[in-house]
Amino acid sequence: MLYREAGDFKTSYAKDSQTFPIKLDRVGYWALMAVAFLVVPFFINDYWANAVFVPFLIYVIAALGLNILTGYAGQLSLGTGGFMAVGAYACYKLMTSFPEVSMIIHVLLAGGITALVGVMFGLPSLRIKGFYLAVATLAAQFFLVWLFNKVPWFYNYSASGQINAPERTVFGIIVTGPNTEAWAKYLFCLIFVVVLAWIARNLTRGMAGRKWMAIRDMDIAAEIIGVNPLKAKLTAFAVSSFFVGIAGALFFSIYLGAAEVGEAFGIQKSFLIVFMIIIGGLGSILGSFAGAAFMVLMPVLLKNILVGGMGWPTDLAAHLEFIIVGGLIVIFLIVEPHGLAQLWRLAKEKMRLWPFPH
């Protein structure tokens, strides 16, 4: 009789629209936050931070961003990698131009700059729909990568054409550069994830989210009942690119430390994020977490089992990864287009009725 709404009466609209309407969920949420902030930082080491936690957290931000654009507003983008590159290069230029400023400001500004670029490439979305738009975002992907490759100003004329993150701090704690402690990387990213997920949740449950979903579900009807389509789509592009830009900035400065644009932010990156939101769940905040976790953990697991456990060559594991990911995408789209998040929801609905399902 634990997992129930019964007896938990809502007496105001505020209570009715809260994120976790069931008490057990709320308890679980706060417990998870406590573990994430108070337990994990004391046990984390470099392997766990670099292989699992930091990429997971950063991909969550990117997935949230793409989910806002694709899952909520219905505009498929294949340019996520390119927009992440904008965030990364903006962050790099800011870091090297203003060394004293806090890293938090740099990351936020990088997000803002990416939002502007996103709006620019979102402008055609008023006239171009569906996968026509997907191709328009491909234009952004290829053009941006080319730009960062060909214009030396962006990488400060370095001989290798790479960008390297110098050592920067937040409140005196080193968060970038080779001397960063694992827990500092982890906590820095975690804070961004928690705040941005909260913002994404707020936006999607309010009027902005309803306008996005209205455009997604039936754009003509949405316009006739009063949604300004250009404004709605551009806010989606702006918010989404803000998230993606922050993810790009963190990916470069915290996770990689050094990046070459074609390798770190190529078209493969765009697809990776698309897969995260399909497997996790389109139009779901929880899905962005689940999808990112899945896509980060699966290769690690495969590698540990096949290469570490059974002694297979690494390229076999890589091929199998392609097969598994591709197969799962198709299976999810056939069986459960709303992804892992929907499976979780269904499980909870069953639990709510258990043990008397009728």
Partner: protein, 281 residues
């Protein structure tokens, strides 16, 4: 044309009257003047003029393909007529995007239900309130201040509409799971939530059984009666149209062939010909 426009500005209108059942019908709210709409070579609407008066239920009828839905689309700004003007509250309406028309207080339902399938019933109806909510994106992002206040104020209005249309039980159900009749009702709720001055209903009773039709008719009459909403509706069921409406426009092949009270229209020879066919000799 300008004369007519200035005439309509006079309020209270000199030609307002009280119907048999005690409702007051005011002056002209919306006037369509010599509207012609073409798609390539096809003429969908040919030189049609009619008006809609405040507080009345105005029906548009006609055989399939007569151009009724196109007419409604012209009113809501979705189709732009090649010729003719639309006057709203006595003023000539400039070229407008559909969302600007909605902001003027014109709400509508659609012939083939156009609900947002991925959202809950409550969220669908809340979208009807979007013209009354203008909290900034930042305020919405932090769920604080104006955004939150607005959300709950408008939620209260929406709850009233939900009570009015008796759909409390399905509030949180995703719209995609609802049966046809309820979807139609939710769509009406979404339009009503906007508190429109002019409500356009495109075949609100299509595909319904007798019982559902009776329910819907009652809701339409109640809306008109309680909120004084002006309603323009398209309907095929003649019995319903004759019972509900104050005045009827009859269209055939894009032309207007009749206009007047249900009794007048019923006895109009052109209308009888259009519906029953006419012997050519």
């Amino acid at each position: 044309m300008t004369n007519a426009a200035t005439d309509m500005n006079a309020a209270p209108s000199p030609d307002s009257y009280v119907t048999a059942d005690g409702r007051t019908i005011g002056g002209v709210v919306m006037e369509m003047k010599n509207i012609t709409l073409r798609f390539g070579g096809v003429v969908a609407i040919k030189d049609i003029s009619f008006d809609i008066r405040e507080g009345e239920i105005r029906a548009i009828i006609g055989p399939n393909g007569a151009g009724k839905s196109s007419m409604l689309n012209v009113i809501s700004g979705f189709y732009k007529p090649q010729e003719g003007d639309v006057f709203f509250h006595g003023e000539k309406r400039p070229l407008m995007k559909p969302y600007q028309v909605a902001q003027q207080g014109i709400a509508r339902t659609f012939q083939n239900i156009a609900l947002f399938d991925g959202m809950s019933v409550l969220d669908n109806i809340m979208t009807g309130r979007l013209n009354n909510m203008n909290a900034s994106l930042i305020s919405q992002a932090v769920w604080w201040g104006k955004a939150q206040k607005e959300e709950f104020e408008n939620r209260e209005k929406v709850e009233k509409v939900i009570d009015f249309l008796e759909i409390q039980a399905i509030r949180k159900t995703p719209v995609g799971r609802l049966p046809y009749g309820l979807k139609k009702r939710v769509e009406l709720a979404r339009a009503l939530a906007a508190e429109p001055t002019l409500l356009l209903l495109d075949e609100p009773m299509a595909g319904m059984n007798v019982e559902e039709k009776e329910d819907m008719s009652r809701f339409i009459l109640d809306v008109n009666d309680e909120f004084g909403t002006t309603i323009a509706l398209i309907e095929h069921d003649m019995g319903v149209v004759m019972d509900l409406s104050d005045r009827v426009v009859v269209m055939d092949y894009g032309k207007k062939i009749g206009d007047g009270t249900p009794d007048e229209v019923r006895n109009n020879q052109d209308v009888i010909d259009a519906y029953l066919g006419v012997a050519h000799d």
